[in-house]
Every structure is written in C-alpha cells, then in structure tokens.
C-alpha cells in the first residue's frame, strides 16, 4: 500500500488524496508526503493509522518528513502508532487540549472511558462537548457493533480556531457497509449500501421498521444531519464508493434520502475494506442542536411512514 500525504486534504478537497492511494499489497505500507507543508483532516491520519494495522510492522516505511508542519503529525500520535522514530526536537506549536490524538477503541468500556475522560480535555462548554461526544460515540459504536473488526475503531479530532470548528475522523478496517447492510437488504453496489445506511430507520440488523431493541438505524442519519444543519462537510467512504455532504446554503432542510441533499458521490475510489467517516462540526452553531432534533423528528417520522407505506399490501382485484 502507498499513501501520499498532500499539502492539503480536508473534507472539501479530500477526493484527490483518496484516489491517489494505492491499497494493493496490504502486507506493506509506504508513506510519503509533501515536502513543504502538510495540512490534513484528522480522518486522513485515521486512515493512515488504520492501514498501518494491516501491514507487517517491519514493512511500514515513512520517509523522513521535511515539512515544517510535521509536528502536527507527531502531536497527533501518528509516528508513535506507526512505531516510527519520533523527532524529539520538534516543538509543539499549538496549545494542548484542543485535539484528540489518534486513539484505538476496541470495546464498549473503552468507548465509555474515552467519552467520559478524553473529550472533556477539549475544554468545550457543555453543549459543544455534548455534540462532540454524540458524534464520536455514535460513530465508534457503529464500528464496534457492525464492522466485525478486531482492530476496533481509530478516532482523532482537531479543533481549528480560525473557523471555530472541530473535525473528527473515525475509521475501521472491518467488513464495510455493503456487507453489513446486505445482511438484510440486498444491495448491488457500495454506493447503494451507503445510501441505505444514511437513510433513517435502516439498519443491517433487521428489516423491521423501528429496528431491534438495540439498533434503530439512526446513528449515521443523525450525524449527517448535524453537519447539514451546521452547514459543514460530512463524508463516508466504504468499498469503492464515497458520499460527501457538501456545504449548503439552504437552512434547516433535511432529507431522508441522502441523495436529495447537496452532495457529491463516486464509485471509482480505491477499494477500502472497512468504513471511513469524516465530519466537521461548527462550534458557533452547536446551540442549534435543539432545532436539529425538531427537524430530525419531522423527517424521521415522514421517512418511516413512507417506508411503511412501501410495505403496504395492495388488494388484488381480478
């Protein structure tokens, strides 16, 4: 496998980074980078970290990074996770407490500890903190419950002062969305599976509307909706497909079908075994969480009614 860390890769412009990855030969991982500056979303780091779990440790190579911003990668724990020698001379430029370094979460107990102990270190107010806890918890729990990956979830987050937002990445190298969804819904493509996974009330555990006692099929829809109301990006990548919610100027309009949102999508990406989710949350607007819940309630009920109607039997007139 080969990964090139570019000059810039955030959710808005992540596509070239994804397309440039070479995911063949999973036994080895070669990491190269832009020599001048590396400015990347935490989800990119999560992906590199996740790939490193697939490769044989002795076959992971990371070129000596020259970029001035390499301290960011060190601070986020990338070299530690890759077991690549760290540069002790590097100075951490940003104040502590505004990022969550790369972390592996493999059990429900670890997740509870993470949400309880680590996220408060971001020093956010209660509303903001709850939003971040919500996103991380639901995404990681999805991994633990559906990915079938022994490696668990890789998570990282970063606060960006200039835009006052938190970017979050949660990645796994499990079975991917299509296999999970196909337990119940026969989908032909990874993109179709992603579309269903983002639709409220759809879960890979049952076709019953309302879900099982433990799964409702609402987690990803809630998080996409948070990004939508916040006018931020959300992306999900699994198999060869990627769906990206684009920033929208339309205020407070949610859709049950993700393809009705302002989005981009593609099915020509390198085959990712597992699932990648990146999301940005604006801290300016987390007070809108309450409004968001009202919107979710409306669209959720509407979507469930429509799905229920689809299952209605029609009288047979002969």
């Amino acid at each position: 496998m080969k990964v090139y860390l570019p000059n810039s890769a955030f959710l808005g412009n992540i596509d070239p980074f994804l397309k440039k990855m070479n995911l063949s030969n999973t036994n080895m991982l070669e990491i190269t980078a832009n020599p001048k500056w590396i400015s990347i979303h935490p989800v990119v780091l999560c992906m590199v970290a996740a790939l490193s779990l697939k490769a044989a440790p002795s076959k992971i190579t990371c070129e000596k990074l020259e970029a001035k911003s390499k301290h960011y990668l060190q601070r986020m724990g990338l070299f530690k996770l890759l077991k690549v020698k760290e540069d002790k001379k590097l100075v951490e430029h940003e104040s502590a407490g505004k990022f969550i370094p790369l972390t592996r979460i493999r059990s429900s107990q670890e997740l509870t500890r993470f949400v309880t102990d680590i996220i408060p270190l971001l020093h956010l107010d209660i509303n903001q903190s709850n939003s971040i806890k919500y996103v991380v918890d639901e995404l990681v729990r999805n991994v633990l419950e559906h990915s079938e990956s022994k490696q668990g979830a890789i998570v990282a987050a970063q606060y960006y002062k200039k835009s006052n937002r938190i970017s979050i990445g949660v990645v796994d190298i499990g079975v991917g969305i299509k296999k999970t969804i196909n337990n119940v819904y026969p989908t032909k493509t990874h993109l179709e599976a992603i579309q269903l996974a983002l639709t409220p009330g759809v879960t890979g555990t049952t076709s019953r509307i309302g879900g099982t006692e433990q799964n409702a099929g609402a987690g990803l829809f809630f998080i996409k909706s948070m990004a939508e109301v916040n006018k931020q990006f959300f992306m999900i990548y699994s198999g060869n497909a990627m769906y990206k919610l684009l920033k929208s100027n339309r205020s407070n309009v949610l859709h049950g079908d993700p393809f009705e949102d302002n989005h981009s999508k593609g099915e020509d990406y390198p085959l990712w075994d597992g699932t990648v989710v990146g999301v940005d949350i604006s801290l300016d607007q987390t007070h809108e969480f309450s409004i968001l819940l009202d919107l979710i309630r409306d669209i959720y009920i509407k979507t469930i009614k429509e799905r229920k109607k689809e299952k209605h039997k029609t009288p047979r007139f002969i």
């Binding site: 709850n130 433990q214 409702a216 609402a218 987690g219 979710i296 959720y300 469930i304």
Partner: protein, 93 residues
C-alpha cells in the same frame, strides 16, 4: 413506584447501550405491576442509541400505552427531545 437514577448507571453522558439494556431489563417486569420513574438528574446528554436501547423494546412489547406508566424526570431539553423522537418513531413503526 420504582425510581431509577440514570446518572448512577451511566454518568453524566448517557451513551452505553449495555447500561440501557440493563435498566430496561430491570424495569420491564416491574411495569406489569407499577409505574416507573426514570430520573435523569445530573445527566447532561444522551445519544439516540442509548434512549432507543432503553425504551424502544418496552414500547414494542407493551404497546404505546406503556408510556403512561413511565415518568421521565429531570430531563433537559436535549434528552426530552431524543426521548420524544424515539417514542414517536416506535409508535409509527
């Protein structure tokens, strides 16, 4: 009337679905005989997954009228709304 303090089971952010399941299994037999209070005092937030794991099966098994026997106490606005969403979609499904 049985009263359960959610904070003691979950901490200030209610997210652990195993804890939700344990509470649900504890109160389901009780609801056949008496009302139950779920006290969210001190709980600042909850995920939809937690609330779903807590009440969805109760509504499914006993029917929507069971909501007349469960009192959700000291819920903040966020938790009230999430409980309402789950109660709504379970009654629609």
């Amino acid at each position: 009337m049985m009263e359960i303090k959610i904070l003691n089971k979950t901490g200030s952010f209610a997210e652990n679905k195993d804890a939700a399941r344990d509470i649900r299994l504890k109160i389901m037999p009780v609801l056949k005989k008496e009302n139950v209070i779920l006290d969210f005092n001190g709980v600042e937030g909850a995920t939809q997954s937690f609330i779903h794991a807590l009440i969805s099966d109760i509504i499914r098994v006993y029917g929507p009228d069971i909501l007349d026997k469960i009192y959700f106490k000291n819920c903040n606005e966020m938790i009230k709304k999430i409980i309402s969403i789950v109660a709504d979609y379970m009654q629609e499904s």
